[in-house]
């Protein structure tokens, strides 16, 4: 790790102002991605602006069927939230599958969504649930937020403050973990609401998280595992690495979609 200066901020404004005054500053939340990258010397921020101690950035509120998860909420809190589980157990299960207990108690939903790692779990839920990404300056619909591997709609100094979504009628998440890293080799989140079914895939796409319209249409017509069993995605759009070929990932998209639907019934 290169030398860096650490700042603990207590308000969103303070953090944004500080960040705006630096060329090479970075926000830090759980640090589970950023610190590891810094240790490998792949990132060298001059300053770290810690968001975890800002009042209001952490915590879960449920009003009616509207769920709001503060950006600095660790995965473990989502995994164990009784309130969310009552409305959308799939996202609790997803959070419980991230990394190991250490990672789940440090890593945050805001950090994960802002980072948009192509193998991260949360982006699939955010996209399938048609969630709204709330920042210090605006609200962004999920369909506009994710813009490719590690790319999002966030501007340079913009802080993601919360994720908000309406609880679906049904939702399921199925993950096939990379045997080494345990990130998603392929993960599929399926959500059914009054306005239709959304299917989002993580871990597989060479452009990051993506939706599968054919599966959405098929499930919209008949919400059963068999409906997606015959639908395949084009391997040409998928990642290929030592852990999985594109063909294998295409197979996993199909199988995990089926299992996600199954688990939501």
């Amino acid at each position: 790790m290169y030398a860096t200066s650490y700042h603990r901020t207590s308000s969103v404004d303070e953090a944004v102002n500080l960040r705006a005054s630096q060329d090479e500053g970075r926000y830090i939340s759980g640090g589970m991605t950023l610190i590891a990258t810094m240790k490998q010397r792949l990132a060298a921020p001059s300053d770290l602006i810690d968001l975890r101690h800002i009042a209001g950035l952490k915590g879960i509120t449920v009003k009616g069927r509207t769920v709001r998860i503060g950006a600095a909420t660790p995965h473990a809190d989502v995994a164990s939230s009784v309130e969310i589980r009552a409305l959308c157990p799939a996202i609790c299960n997803l959070a419980g599958m991230i990394g190991d207990p250490h990672v789940r108690h440090m890593g945050t939903i805001g950090g994960s969504v802002a980072n948009n790692d192509p193998a991260a779990d949360y982006p699939s839920a955010v996209l399938a649930l048609n969630a709204t990404i709330i920042t210090d300056r605006r609200e962004i619909p999920a369909d506009e937020f994710f813009q490719g591997m590690f790319e999002t709609a966030l501007q340079d100094t913009e802080i993601l403050t919360a994720i908000r979504f309406e609880a679906p009628d049904k939702a399921g998440y199925a993950k096939f973990a990379n045997p080494a890293s345990r990130y998603a080799l392929t993960g599929v989140f399926v959500a059914k609401t009054a306005s239709g079914v959304r299917v989002a895939v993580t871990g597989a796409g060479s452009g990051g998280v993506f939706r599968v319209p054919e599966m959405e249409a098929a499930l919209g017509a008949s919400y059963l595992p068999e409906s997606v069993a015959g639908i395949s995605v084009d391997p040409g759009l998928l990642m290929e690495d030592m852990h999985a070929t594109a063909e294998y990932r295409a197979n996993l998209v199909r199988v995990m979609a089926k299992r996600a639907v199954q688990s939501s019934l």
Binding site: F176, P179, M242, H243, A244, T245
Partner: protein, 788 residues
């Protein structure tokens, strides 16, 4: 046996310190004036160094020195060596290329050390290391053994033309060829043994301290054998004479073989300490560990096994190519030869065996012994072959093994080894019963009903521990003897110190060695301390590897205890006016048998040191030492059974049960033995399902340089293990011990691969059986069937 004696499940004395964070590892050592090192390493797999410019680095904050290979060479520091001479079958000695502690003209793998930066802090050393400008002319690189033997492969060492280190053989080629020619059936199979990274929890570290006043060096290091480290650094690397070099291996967090060897870093830090006048510490990070710790395995073999019409094995022919990496590590030559091919008879009576082994240089990390060292490779090859034979001959794999078991002992194999004792049938039956082998078809039907593929597989392994005797290994080329030493010091108040040349880095010696003393003298283990790991405290010893500490190290303690006991009895007889022959030691008392005369142990000890009333002519004191050189290897053996279920949609394997039935001879502490087996099984299952070191074949970059890509087994990858022990005591040592440290890693990979290939009905799968590979294999069959 008593509450704490041999056979008791005593909890480990050392665990309190480890579990409360009070262990003291090399990186915990802090000495006045200590500075930190970082190594500049090659980013290329193969390149010529055309220049090193440290001027910028030298001006950076905290930097004390940047030292390079030419300076080291000018100071007379020698090259690293392989300590086991193997000759090719044409009689020529192995062709060892020069391994300089810091590369001078050529780098040969990614991670090869080029320079050392010493600075006030580790971070400053690392910052400065990035500013050391090394100019390279890149050369083509080769990473796989077969490619390295190719006609147009890059030449890695001038000493080894065609990258061939040696072309060695064992056994009788003519008899084996004749057996194959006359056979009713010949089974042929290609076997790959995947390359592994050992991954001890504690990464390597070293602290070099030069004391100018005494012209003396101290080396703290993560070593499994500090005396061997001192010997080698003194005799070959010219660091300092032995009496001017103290090596301390304090608490060491796992080794699995990778900490047997002397690496460049120890030598360079000692030298750098003298050069700079400050103590120099280096601690590897995890990526450096992947890049520089000796790897294991990496064999490519072809096999022919001949059977007569009654399915008796009549011959075995093996051709193996072993990848030794960019340099020959300390025992690298012995692993694919004397630790591998000598075990190719397995548990079977095979009249004719011939194995040919070629070892080659590649642009990869050096390869040396890793848990099991050669024996996992032999077991995997043999147990996959016999399973394949059973499938091809259409008979039960159990019956085929039973028919060919060795049943009388001692048994001389055609490949050097003389097995001294064993009962292979006992372990086989125990394992089959524990696994409910006969109930498998019904279980398979249940799985099939759920759309899953279920398989069962076994492996009957034999291995050789406590490599010995010294004369024999010397005649095979070993540069050292393989005995062990012990000193038993009874203090004046009766407490005891045992100084052992064995080294504990997870094995629990502080407990088991104390149990041995408790068993003999009836004293509590709390009054026994085990001292190891410091060349200034302990007499010359050979360290711990190859499951030798029980069979060899404890036998040395037994010999020293015999002497202590004899002297104590003489003193007691004298004090109690009895005949020496009537003295017995029981429960901490020294008694005259058949009388009520008795002295507590501490009084006999005290008498030895007050020396007021000793038998005439007897020297005061109660302290004895012994060196023990075994008469033979020991031969642990057993039967492992794995039952798996495979999800055909994803290719993922779930281990439903894993049964291990082991014959380790007598057991000192069953709890510790079970722990050793569990750990070994985890590593063997890791090899079969998850682990593989991979290089980019085009440029020699290590692709699996972190846990993001190198799949280590985790708790939820493993089932609960079902263990049992059979016992044919080893006749070769006083305790009847065989050793248990490696069996789990040796026996488990073939059991799993036999189960997986049984489940999917495809025999050609190689390790690791990742979901990707299993699914792809199933896909290929489906495509073929669809095409037909």
């Amino acid at each position: 046996m008593g509450m704490e004696g041999i056979g008791a499940r005593v909890t480990r004395k050392e665990d309190k310190r480890f579990l409360t964070g009070k262990g003291r590892y090399t990186d915990d050592m802090v000495v006045p004036g200590m500075k930190h090192a970082f190594f500049v390493r090659s980013p290329h797999a193969h390149a010529r160094i055309t220049g090193i410019d440290a001027s910028v680095a030298l001006g950076m904050p905290g930097v004390i020195a940047v030292l390079e290979g030419k300076q080291l060479q000018a100071d007379g520091i020698g090259n690293l060596i392989c300590g086991w001479m193997v000759h090719s079958k044409d009689g020529t000695p192995m062709k060892m290329g020069a391994w300089r502690p810091l590369a001078i003209d050529t780098v040969r793998y990614v991670g090869d050390a080029v320079a050392i930066v010493v600075a006030d802090s580790a971070a400053e050393a690392r910052d400065a290391a990035e500013a050391v400008m090394v100019d390279y002319d890149e050369l083509p690189a080769v990473t796989t053994s077969l490619a390295a033997l190719g006609a147009d492969a890059p030449q890695i060492h001038p000493e080894a033309p065609g990258n061939l280190i040696f072309d060695w053989q064992i056994g009788d080629p003519a008899a084996t060829d004749a057996a194959i020619a006359a056979a009713a059936h010949v089974i042929e199979i290609d076997i790959l043994n995947n390359r592994l990274s050992p991954n001890p929890m504690e990464p390597r570290a070293t602290l070099g301290i030069y004391d100018e006043a005494e012209d003396h060096f101290t080396c703290y290091t993560t070593s499994q054998n500090p005396h061997v480290a001192r010997l080698v650094m003194s005799a070959f690397y010219n660091v300092a004479p032995e009496n001017k070099l103290r090596v301390i291996a304090p608490d060491v967090g796992g080794g699995f073989g990778s900490k047997i060897y002397i690496y460049p870093e120890e030598i360079v830090c000692l030298w750098a300490s003298k050069k700079t006048g400050v103590p120099v510490k280096w601690t590897s990070d995890r990526t450096e560990a992947f890049l520089t710790d000796a790897h294991g395995r990496d064999h490519v073999s072809t096999v022919k096994m001949a059977f007569d019409k009654d399915h008796r094995i009549t011959g075995l022919k093996v051709d193996t190519v072993a990848n030794l990496g960019a340099y020959m590590s300390l025992f690298s030559s012995a692993v694919p030869t004397y630790l591998y091919a000598t075990l190719l008879s397995g548990q079977y009576a095979i009249p004719a065996i011939h194995a040919n082994v070629r070892t080659v240089y590649t642009n990869t990390v050096p390869v040396d012994a890793y848990r099991g060292a050669g024996r996992p490779e032999a077991t995997y090859l043999l147990e996959r072959t016999i399973e394949t034979a059973a499938r091809e001959l259409g008979i039960s794999p159990v019956e085929l093994r039973r028919k060919n078991f060795i049943r009388t002992f001692p048994y001389q194999t055609p490949v050097i080894m003389t097995y001294d004792a064993g009962d292979y049938e006992a372990s086989l039956s125990a394992a089959m019963q524990a696994a409910d082998w006969d109930g498998f078809p019904a279980r398979r039907a249940q799985s099939e009903a759920r759309g899953m593929k279920r398989g069962i597989g076994m492996s009957c392994y034999i291995e050789a521990c406590g490599i010995a005797p010294s004369q024999a290994v010397g005649s095979l080329g070993a540069g050292v003897g393989l005995w062990e030493s012990a000193e038993v010091r009874v203090n004046a108040v009766g407490t005891i110190e045992v100084l052992t040349g064995s080294h504990s880095h997870g094995q629990g010696h502080e407990t088991t060695f104390a149990q041995l003393v408790a068993d003999r003298l009836g004293v509590p283990i709390a009054s026994v301390n085990i001292v190891h790991g410091d060349t200034d405290k302990v007499q010359m010893g050979m360290g711990t590897y190859g499951s030798r500490s029980g069979a060899v190290g404890m036998s040395a303690v037994v010999k020293a205890l015999d002497k202590v006991e004899m002297k104590a009895k003489k003193i007691a007889a004298h004090l109690m006016e009895a005949d020496e022959a009537d003295i017995v030691i029981e429960n901490g008392d020294v008694k005259v048998a058949g009388t009520d005369k008795s002295l507590p142990w501490f009084q006999v000890a005290l008498a030895a040191y007050t020396a007021h009333n000793l038998p005439s002519g007897m020297e005061p004191g109660l302290k004895e030492s012994a060196f023990y050189d075994p008469s033979n290897f020991t031969f642990p053996a057993g039967c492992y059974i794995a039952e798996v279920e495979i999800d055909p949609e994803t290719g993922k394997t779930e281990i439903l049960q894993f049964v291990a039935a082991d014959d380790f001879g007598n057991i000192i502490n069953p709890m510790i033995v079970e722990g050793q087996v569990h750990g070994g099984l985890a590593q063997g299952i890791g090899q079969a399902l998850l682990e593989e070191v991979r290089y980019d074949e085009n440029n020699g970059q290590l692709l699996t340089a972190s846990y993001m890509d190198y799949a280590m087994p985790r708790a939820d990858d493993l089932p609960s293990f079902s263990l049992s022990h059979q016992n044919t005591p080893c006749p070769g040592n006083p305790l009847g011990i065989k050793g248990c440290g490696e069996a789990g890693a040796i026996g488990s990979p073939p059991a799993l691969m036999n189960a997986i290939t049984d489940a999917i009905g495809i025999n050609t799968l190689s390790m690791p059986a990742t979901p990707l590979k299993v699914w792809s294999a199933l896909q290929a069959v489906q495509m073929r069937q669809a095409a037909e």
